[in-house]
Amino acid sequence: MESVGNIILYFVIAVSIIVFSVLTVTTRKILRSATYLLFTLFATAALYFQMDYPFLGAVQIAVYAGGIVVLFVFAILLTQQPGKDQQQMQSTRRALALTATLLGVALTAYCLFSYANFAGKIVPQAAEFDIQTIGRFLLSTDKLGYLLPFEAISILLLACIIGGVVIARKR
């Protein structure tokens, strides 16, 4: 049995994820959209914390909420007159998109619930890893080491930096 606090926390997180996600894609003002995204990301980070992945949660907040959303806000401010509403797609197209989305969600939901016997019973098991362990994994060359992906992603980031510079360069 979970503690009541945990359950309440879960529901708060779940509801905020759902509500803010929906708001993100339905609001007419793009800056608000970015703000709701921020909230969604915070909720996600909370979820990670709740699941005992504090490092991940921290990264989520730092990179996503702190980095990406700020980037979005900058981009929005650079490209948008504040307060101007976004244009809407044609309603037929929105209806079509909605139908397709709901269809996809329904399909996935059907799959999920057809495994409900299994998925609905299984509960999380506690297993704490401290930062040290994570760091060692990240930089080890063992069987379960992540040095190669780590290096790959560094190169990717480097490429991104270079690409960003090239793209942003004034012609």
Partner: protein, 103 residues
């Protein structure tokens, strides 16, 4: 009452659906990127959840999410750079108005 796997997957699913909907309906490229982030995030949650519920002794899911976040960051940064650049040239960010690669 237990917090089961299903309970974590459902918000993620809804989040993903929102992402899809947003991606399909938004005109503003930045908004589309935002929807994309939602989808990515939903997937991240799934990784972590599965890791926690099914393989608690390992860290694959967590690391995957970690890298995904890094990738998402890189991708967003680059995409936003491109968007801003396009905006500089074309003075617009609506995706259906920018349908030519050359100007």
């Amino acid at each position: 009452m237990n917090l089961t796997l299903l309970m974590y997957l459902v918000p993620s699913l809804i989040m993903f659906g929102c992402g899809v909907y947003g991606f399909l309906t938004r005109k503003n490229m930045i908004a589309i990127m935002i929807s994309l982030e939602l989808m990515l995030n939903a997937v991240d949650i799934n990784f972590v959840v599965f890791n926690r519920f099914l393989f608690p002794g390992q860290l694959e899911g967590m690391f995957f999410t970690l890298f995904a976040i890094a990738l998402a960051a890189a991708e967003t940064a680059l995409a936003l750079a491109i968007i801003i650049n396009v905006f500089r040239i074309a003075k617009k960010v609506d995706i259906n108005e920018i349908n030519k690669l050359k100007f």
